[in-house]
C-alpha cells in the first residue's frame, strides 16, 4: 500500500494508477455493501421473488397434462376436429390412461375437468373398466364402457390443453372460457361469479379509501397542528388499533354490528329504530366497508400526518391575510399542499384493501366477499392453484397499473410516508 502511495504521484500523470487504486478502494466498499444487504436480498428472493415468479408461471402453466398424455396429444393434433377422433387417438389415450400412476391421472383429470366438467368421472370410471379391454380396436369398446367417449365435445375440450401454456385460467378469472373450438366465449350466466366480485372488490376498496380519507383528514390535521402534549395522546389513539390483533378487532366489530349486537341494542333502547327493524350491518357489504374503514384508517392518517406536519402554519395565515376566507384558504392553499399525503394514503389504503381477505371473510357474509376470498377458496378448497395464480396475477397487475397511473399524475417521488 505504502509503495503505491509513494509511486502514485509519479504515475498519475498518465491517469491509470489513480483510477486503478480508486477502483480497488471502492471495490472493497462495494463488496461490504453487498454483503450487508445479502441476507435481506436472499430472504426476499426466497420468500417473495421466487413465489411470485412461481405464481405467475402457474397461472399459464399447462405442461403437466402434456407429460401424462404426450402421445395422445401428438396424434390429437392430426385430428380434423370433425365428428369423432380416429382410432389412433383412442388407442394412445387407452394406453396412456393405463400407464399413468394414480395421482398423476387424478391431477390430470382434475385439469381436464376445468375444460369440460365430466372428464374426471369419465377417467375414473374408465380406469376401472379398461381392464376388460384386451385388444384393439379400442374406439368401439371405449364408447361401450362409457357413452361420453363417443361425445365429440369431450374430445374437443382437450384441444385447449395441447399447448404447454394456456390462457384458460385468466379467462376463467374474468368469466370467460374457451368453447370446444378454442374460441373465447362468455361463461354461461349461472357460472359468472368473478366479474361481479371484481367490481365489488374495486367498489369496496374505493369506498373504504374515500371513507378513510374523510375520517382521517381532520384527525391528521389535528395531529399536525395541536400542541405536542395533546397530539401525542391523539397519536396513541390512532396507533392503538395498530397494536391490537386484526382478528380481535374484527371480532369486536362482529359483537358491535350484529343484529342483536351493541349498536342495534343501543339504537333500540334509544328508540331510534324499532325492535323488529334492526339494521343489518353485518354479513353483507356494509359490514365489510365499516370494518375495513376502521382497520385501514391508520394507513391513511399516518401519511397524511407526516405531510401535514411539513406544511408551515404560515401558509394559512398568509392566505387569510391576503383576504381569503378560511374555507377558500383551506381549499386553495392547504389542501393542494397536503396532496402528496392524500395520494400516498389513498394509494396505500386502496392497495391494501383490494387484496383484503380476513375481514370480508368474517363479516362480509355472502354479499361482502372480495376477490381475496375467492383466491383463498380456490387455494384451500378446490385446489385450483392455476386459477388462484391467475386471480392473484390480475390483482398484482391492477396494483401496478394504479401505481403507474399515480406515478404519471403525481409522481412517486412525491409520496411521503414519514
Amino acid at each position: 500500500m505504502s509503495s503505491e502511495t509513494i509511486s502514485g504521484p509519479i504515475l498519475t500523470s498518465d491517469g491509470i494508477p489513480l483510477k486503478v487504486s480508486l477502483r480497488k478502494a471502492e471495490k472493497r466498499n462495494k463488496i461490504r455493501a453487498f454483503l450487508l444487504v445479502l441476507p435481506l436480498l436472499a430472504f426476499i428472493l426466497i420468500t417473495f421473488i421466487i413465489p411470485i415468479g412461481d405464481m405467475l408461471s402457474r397461472s399459464v402453466d399447462d405442461r403437466y397434462i402434456n407429460t401424462v398424455f404426450p402421445k395422445t396429444f401428438e396424434v390429437f393434433k392430426k385430428w380434423d376436429k370433425q365428428d369423432l377422433p380416429p382410432e389412433e387417438v383412442y388407442e394412445t389415450m387407452f394406453f396412456e390412461i393405463n400407464a399413468a400412476k394414480g395421482y398423476k391421472i387424478g391431477k390430470s383429470s382434475t385439469r381436464m375437468n376445468y375444460s369440460k366438467s365430466g372428464w374426471k368421472s369419465l377417467i375414473k370410471k374408465s380406469q376401472r373398466k379398461f381392464k376388460r379391454i384386451k385388444e384393439g380396436p379400442y374406439k368401439e369398446q371405449m364408447i361401450e364402457i362409457d357413452k361420453r367417449w363417443g361425445d365429440p365435445l369431450y374430445w374437443k375440450a382437450l384441444g385447449e390443453m395441447v399447448d404447454p401454456t394456456t390462457m384458460g385460467y385468466y379467462l376463467n378469472a374474468v368469466d370467460l372460457k374457451y368453447d370446444s373450438n378454442k374460441e373465447i366465449i362468455a361463461q354461461p350466466e349461472n357460472r359468472r361469479i368473478y366479474n361481479h366480485t371484481w367490481i365489488k372488490t374495486f367498489k369496496v376498496s374505493l369506498l373504504v379509501t374515500l371513507f378513510t380519507l374523510m375520517l382521517g383528514y381532520p384527525i391528521a390535521y389535528l395531529l399536525a397542528t395541536l400542541p405536542l402534549k395533546y397530539s401525542n395522546l391523539l397519536m396513541i389513539c390512532v396507533l392503538l388499533p395498530f397494536w391490537t390483533s386484526l382478528l380481535v378487532r374484527t371480532v369486536a366489530w362482529m359483537i358491535i354490528l350484529q343484529q342483536n349486537g351493541v349498536f342495534n341494542n343501543l339504537m333500540v333502547i334509544a328508540g331510534l329504530i324499532a325492535d323488529e327493524n334492526r339494521w343489518k350491518l353485518m354479513y353483507n357489504e356494509t359490514g365489510t366497508i365499516i370494518v375495513m374503514t376502521q382497520i385501514l384508517l391508520p394507513f391513511m392518517v399516518l401519511p397524511l400526518y407526516s405531510v401535514m406536519k411539513t406544511i408551515s402554519p404560515s401558509y394559512m395565515k398568509a392566505a387569510l391575510n391576503l383576504g381569503a376566507s378560511p374555507l377558500h384558504a383551506f381549499w386553495k392553499v392547504y389542501m393542494p399542499n397536503s396532496l402528496p399525503g392524500i395520494s400516498a394514503g389513498g394509494l396505500l389504503v386502496f392497495i391494501i384493501a383490494i387484496g383484503y381477505f380476513i375481514t370480508p371473510e368474517l363479516v362480509g357474509g355472502k354479499d361482502g366477499q372480495m376477490i381475496g376470498n375467492w383466491i383463498a377458496y380456490h387455494l384451500k378448497t378446490t385446489l385450483n392453484w392455476g386459477l388462484c395464480a391467475a386471480l392473484g396475477s390480475i390483482l398484482l397487475a391492477v396494483m401496478l397499473v394504479f401505481y403507474w397511473v399515480y406515478n404519471k399524475i403525481i409522481g412517486v417521488e412525491n409520496i411521503k410516508l414519514g
Partner: protein
Amino acid sequence: MSEKDSFVKFENVDKSYDGESLVVKGLNLDIPQGEFLTMLGPSGSGKTTTLMMLAGFETPTSGEIYLGGEPISSIPPYKRGIGMVFQNYALFPHMTVNENLAFPLEVRKLEKSEVDEKVHKALSMVELQDFGTRMPLQLSGGQQQRVALARALVFQPRLVLMDEPLGALDKKLREQMQYEIKHIHENIGITVVYVTHDQSEALTMSNRIAVFNDGKIQQISTPDVLYEKPDNSFVAQFIGENNQIKGKVKSMNGKNCVVETDNGDEIVSLKININSVGETSLLSLRPERVWVNVNEKNYENNFEAKVEELIYLGDHVRTRVKVCGNDQFIVKIPNSSDHSDLKEGATVKLSWKAGDTRALDFKA
C-alpha cells in the same frame, strides 16, 4: 389627535396566553399614516405578539386596536385588508410567482386583465418581471423575499406588516434589502409596521422605533434620539454599544447629578432616570464619546485608566480599559499617529463630558 396621526392605535392592550402572565402589558401606541415604525426588542419581548394582534391572528385579552379610527378586534384577519410579509415568506409552494401575486386579487374578484396588470406592476417594483412563471422554490432567498414583499403590496393594502422579513438572508443581502424596502416605502408612502430584533436594521429603515422589553414599550422615538438619548438603561444597552458604570447618586443639581462609584470615583452626569439622592444608578456612556489624553479643562470627568486589551479594527482600535473600578469599559480610539504608543498595561488619561453621560435606572 387627528385620524392621520393615529392611523393605527393600540389602546391599553393586554395579551396573555396562559392567564397567568402577560405577554403584552397595557400597550398604548399611535402610528400616523405613512410612517415606518419598527418594533425592536429581544425575543419574548411581546413585539411579534403585538404584530399578530394587529394582523388579527391573535386577539387582545383586553383593550382595543383601531385601524383608521375603526375598532378591529372583532374583524377576522381576512377582512382587515392588511398586507403582511412573513418571517419565512410563506409563499405558496404549489403556485407560480404570478399565481402567488394574483391570489389576493382573485380573492377580491378583480377582472383578469386588471389582475395581470397589477401583478406585472408589483413584480416590476421589485425588479422580478422575468420570474413570474417560476415556482417560489426555484428562486433564491433574496428573490423569494422580494416576491413576498410584492405579494403583500399588490392588493394596495392600507397597512403592511413585516415580521422579521430579512432574518433568513445573509448579511450583505440583508443590507441591500433594507435599502430596497426603505425606498419602496418612500415611493408609495404606505404605513409600515416592522418587527425585528436587529438594531442596525431598525436604525437604517425606520421613521420611529418602539423598543420593546418585558411586554412594554421602553421608549419610542426616532433612531437618533434612541441612540443618543436613551430613557432607561435597557434602551441604552440594547441599542448600540454602551459603557455601563454602576454607582450611588451623591448629589443632584439642576439637570446634572454626581454619582459615586463603588471605588469612590465621582462622575458628573445628566440626571435622566433617577429620583433621589442615595439610590443606585447605572451610568450610560457611548464608547465613541470618551477621549484619551486630551486637555482636561474641557471635560467634567477625567480619570486614569489602565489599558487591558487592544483590538485592532482598521479604522479604529477598540480598547478595553479599567476605569472607575470597571474593567469592561470600552473606548473607541481613532487609528491615528497620536495613539501609536498605546500598549496593553499602559496607563492613560480618559476624559468625557457630563452631557454625554446619562444617569439611568438600575434594575437589580
